[in-house]
């Protein structure tokens, strides 16, 4: 393969040969001699006192090594958190249950079958109590989750008075809607798993975990057990999807480490799917009211979003901070003179919430875009025209928003226009009219979004968001080591923690281009804290925007040194050396060249090098961008609703996204497609449902249906490219964009279909019963 300019090309993934052959190694595939299995005893109640725990019968069972309760681990303190605001989770329930599935005891046995039997023999005497489950009820403090108000924090930004004044104007139209953005269960197909090995001889811990944040987890283990960072090695091998739920440190990771220390054997735990619904964080869970005002001509003058966000029962890694990510993007793509955002963070007796793909930004986009659509309907304006009229204009960037963010770049109208062109909206509207004449209800939904991602720069997250809880510096930079090995092959070690995003491929594209080394001779290593320089991890669509430039910078430094060596070998000037096709050559005279392998071999021979140059050819780089990045896009859905059954069929889904410069268009398209599917899942199928006692009614994939292939259409997609200046590559990040743009697009399409029936609003998920009920509620049930 030629090595010139892989950047921007659809290079097939390096990751795939192992994964398609079944030889990829996930945590469950790593086996250690003598390993034991852990099973947790979990509370069936959401709120209860724990009167007693009788472990004697379990301990007597053959093959059982230990049963631990809070008494055994209280000395380790609570679970640590990145944002330690509020009440942190005890490692095991400490006399009080605060959510269904909270772990009460940990059983360790020879294998998981035996440990499961023993867990069933642990007798727990509970004292069940009424629970705070409903979010709005919890906000009243009728029942408190802890010994304090359930409202633990409030995020507020913008100008409340300015909004009130604008809403009071007599020349504006005001639309106000209370909407629910429901609780979701992340459901990566790989359940979380952990394998801990405490080696007393070395005094070290090896911890295999399905984590997105290996370094933070290592920091948490070191802090909890009083170890130095160099005593802890966290390894995240292949990780089978994360979507934010593996961006956390969990009690099981601490407890397996503890058990391994106590028992002198490796200890493994893997969650079951049913358990995952309560042992892993959930996402979303907002009840809020959005209010928007515009002049008759369609100039939006004020937007306010106020309400509640469900934190669940404890503050985990980033729990309390999720809503502020919604605050960052509250005004969307619009230049709105008055904006106010106020979200109360509320504890409930449910499993903790935290980052789930998009994390606060899908919620913000949902409320805003539904409001703009409602406004368009009230003004009788074309939804596309209303949006276009209010966009921040390309020449206004960098644009400072009314919630204090600086947006980098965007050509919002151009991206919208590309979507409208692809969709042939006029043709669609004609089709819709024709269908309605035949009694069929087609709907066309169009929305646009902007996200704030590439999470960094460090200074923006200083203080409240720092990693100090894990004993780490307050930093959001990324790192990379690039090493030319003595044989000329190149190793890139990244601090990012991919869960399917293809970093092995994209980072290799960057390194291969910079060094002129064949792509096949570059290998990317990740997910091992002993290998990699300090990195923060993969979340918030940050890897390309923060980790990518670190790879480019490290490779650039290696290239500089290689150029000096080549210059010495070729008797030329270093600035004239170019790297391509496995060769270093003099610009303008390619016959004056040296093979890369030969060059690298020379680099390792001190006596062959010019004076002042040290042997070896590797460098490490850190990168901290000047700003977060602001990808955006325009999405459209076409649906048909059967008013008799409430069934929604998704006929078409179109998306034009802009993530700045693209490193690998194939991978970017895949990220968008997967993201869209998760947004569609929220819009159409998914909801974590609790009964009034706080029992989770949707803990299996039968009750919590995620999209299947048969639910999805093929996607019609395109990209526009508006680079950012926040990093030298111009890349913005694309991991969450699809999810942030899609849920409201589906709802917009369904509401468009139902408009002739008088349905003006509806909450997700749009399962047939809910759609049918919405039609019944407006009292028509079908137009003649």
């Amino acid at each position: 393969m030629t090595t010139t300019r892989l950047f921007g090309k659809a290079i097939k993934r390096k990751e795939d040969p192992a994964l398609i052959a079944g030889t990829g190694r996930y945590v469950e595939d790593v086996r250690l001699p003598g390993e034991l299995s852990a099973i947790f005893v979990r509370s069936p109640y959401a709120r209860a006192g724990v009167n007693s725990i009788d472990t004697s019968a379990a301990l007597e069972m053959p093959g059982v090594h230990a049963v631990y309760t809070i008494e055994d681990v209280r000395h380790l303190g609570s679970l640590l958190a990145q944002v330690p605001v509020g009440t942190l989770k005890p490692l095991l329930a400490d006399g009080q249950i605060r959510h269904v599935g909270e772990a009460v005891a940990m059983v360790v046995g020879d294998d998981k079958y035996l440990a499961r039997d023993a867990a069933d023999a642990v007798e727990v005497d509970y004292d069940p109590m009424d629970a705070a489950v409903d979010l709005e009820d919890a906000a009243t403090d009728r029942i408190t989750v802890h010994d304090a108000s359930n409202v633990i924090h409030t995020w507020e930004a913008g100008d409340s008075d300015g909004c009130a004044e604008a809403f009071g104007r007599d020349d504006v139209v005001v639309v106000e809607r209370k909407m629910v953005n429901q609780r979701l269960i992340p459901v990566p197909i790989e359940p979380r798993a952990v394998l801990a090995e405490w080696n007393p001889g070395y005094g070290t811990v090896n911890l295999w975990s399905t984590t997105q944040i290996p370094h933070a987890l290592a920091g948490a283990i070191a802090t909890t057990f009083g170890l130095d960072a160099n005593d802890v090695r966290v390894i995240a091998p292949e990780v089978g999807g994360g979507f934010g739920c593996k961006l956390n440190v969990y009690p099981d990771e601490i407890l397996c480490t503890f058990a391994s220390k106590m028992l002198g054997s490796p200890v493994r735990w893997t969650e079951t799917r049913r358990e995952a619904a309560v042992s892993t964080i959930q996402g979303r869970g907002w009840v809020a009211t959005a209010k928007i005002a515009a002049t008759r001509e369609g100039d939006i003058v004020a937007y306010e979003l106020a309400g509640l966000a469900d934190m669940g029962a404890y503050s985990q890694n980033f729990t309390i901070a999720i809503p502020v990510l919604g605050q960052f993007t509250a005004p969307g793509q619009y230049d709105i003179p008055n904006v106010h955002f106020k979200i109360d963070c509320v504890y409930t007796n449910t499993p903790p919430t935290d980052a789930y793909r998009g994390a606060g930004r899908p919620e913000a986009a949902y409320y805003l875009e539904r409001s703009v659509d409602a406004l368009a309907a009230d003004l009788d304006m074309d939804p596309a025209e209303l949006r276009r009229r209010n966009y921040v204009k390309p020449e206004d960037f960098p644009f400072t928003t009314k919630v204090g963010m600086v947006m980098d770049s965007g050509q919002y109208a151009a991206t919208l226009d590309r979507l409208l062109e692809m969709a042939d909206v006029q043709g669609l509207r004609a089709e819709q009219t024709e269908a309605r004449e035949k009694g069929r209800y087609l709907g066309i939904g169009l929305t646009t979004y902007v996200e704030n991602c590439g999470l960094a720069p460090s200074a923006m997250f200083e203080g409240g968001f720092s990693w100090a809880g894990y004993g780490l510096p307050s930093a959001f930079n990324e790192s990379a080591t690039v090493r030319a090995n003595p044989d000329g092959s190149v190793t890139v070690v990244t601090g990012t923690g991919p869960t399917g995003q293809g970093h092995e491929t994209t980072w290799a594209q960057i390194a291969s281009d910079t060094l002129g080394v064949p792509f096949d001779r570059v290998k990317v290593r990740h997910g091992d804290t002993h290998d990699s320089p300090m990195g923060i991890g993969t979340f918030g669509s940050r890897s390309a925007a923060v980790g990518g430039p670190a790879v480019a910078r490290a490779a650039g430094r290696v290239q500089e040194k290689a150029a000096r060596i080549a210059a010495h070998m070729l008797e030329a000037a270093a600035e004239d050396i170019r790297f391509e096709d496995g060769k270093a050559f003099v610009a303008g005279s390619p016959e004056q060249s040296v093979d890369w392998d030969n060059l690298v071999a020379t680099a390792y021979q001190q006596y062959q090098l010019p004076e002042g140059l040290e042997a070896g050819l590797e460098d490490v780089a850190f990168f901290d961008p000047t700003n977060a990045t602001w990808p955006y896009g325009a999405h459209m859905a076409v649906v048909e609703v059967d008013p008799e059954t409430g069934d929604v069929e998704l006929l078409r889904y179109l998306a034009v996204d802009d993530c700045g410069t693209v490193i690998n268009p194939m991978i970017v398209a895949g990220q968008v497609q997967g993201g869209i599917a998760q947004g569609i899942g929220q819009a159409m199928f998914e909801e974590a449902v609790y009964d009034e006692q706080g029992s989770l009614l949707t803990s299996s994939l039968a009750d919590y249906p995620i999209p299947t292939a048969a639910d999805m259409p093929s996607f019609e997609m395109d990209m526009t490219v508006t680079p950012t200046d926040a990093n030298p590559l111009g890349v913005k990040g694309i991991g969450e964009a699809g999810t942030i743009g899609s849920a409201q697009t589906i709802v917009a399409a369904v509401l468009d279909a139902l408009r002739p029936l008088g349905v003006e609003t509806i909450d997700m998920p749009l399962r047939p019963k809910r759609v049918w009920q919405a039609i019944q509620d407006v009292g028509q049930g079908g137009e003649g």
């Binding site: 393969m1 892989l6 090309k9 659809a10 290079i11 097939k12 993934r13 990751e15 795939d16 040969p17 994964l19 398609i20 052959a21 079944g22 030889t23 990829g24 996930y26 469950e28 595939d29 086996r31 079958y113 459901v187 990566p188 197909i189 790989e190 359940p191 292949e238 990780v239 089978g240 999807g241 979507f243 079951t272 799917r273 049913r274 869960t499 399917g500 995003q501 293809g502 268009p665 194939m666 991978i667 398209a669 895949g670 990220q671 497609q673 997967g674 993201g675 869209i676 599917a677 998760q678 299996s700 994939l701 039968a702 995620i706 999209p707 299947t708 292939a709 639910d711 999805m712 093929s714």
Partner: protein, 167 residues
């Protein structure tokens, strides 16, 4: 109990507890870890293998039920290092991201194409709707299976949706 079966062409005999699931025999006794466990309840399909040529979710079958059966797992799909067309299709058309559902998804597609060598998009989508993928939105999985179907029929697969880079 002793269970005798043939896995990827190799006869094996394994001592298991009567309640052992087939997937645990495959993964833990035979160390074939390409077959994954995603839900233990037969919804996700990550554990799909071929049992006597039929796709089976191996988390929902007891090992003892496989007595005498011929089982093919993802590890047994490639022929002498030559990728099966479905494996090739997944690589060529970016049909995987995290890769966890992939072995089950590929086995399901192999089963589908054995029954229906020229499936429509709709038939592909319904054919694999017992296998869940959370990463791809299925778009490229469908393209991957279309690619494999064309190859297996001796046709030229449709071009990729991106500019292909020659190897």
């Amino acid at each position: 109990m002793q269970v005798g079966l043939t896995v990827n062409g190799r006869p094996v005999s394994v001592e298991v507890e009567p309640r052992t699931l087939l997937v645990h025999l495959i993964r833990e006794n035979l160390h074939l870890t390409g077959t994954h466990v995603g839900c233990e309840t037969s919804y996700c399909g990550a554990c799909t293998v071929l049992v006597d040529g039929t796709t089976i979710k191996s988390c929902t079958m007891l090992a003892v039920q496989a007595e005498g059966a011929e089982i093919t797992t993802i590890e047994g799909l490639a022929d002498d290092g030559q990728l099966h067309p479905v494996q090739e299709g997944f690589w060529e058309r970016h049909g995987l991201q995290c890769g966890f559902c992939t072995p089950g998804m590929i086995m399901s597609a192999v089963g589908l194409l054995a029954d229906n060598p020229d499936p429509s998009e709709d038939e592909i989508r319904h054919g694999i709707d017992g296998n869940l993928c959370r990463c791809t939105g299925y778009h490229n999985i469908v393209r991957a299976i279309e690619y494999a179907a064309a190859k297996m029929r001796g046709d030229t697969p449709a071009p990729a949706e991106w500019e292909e880079v020659p190897a």
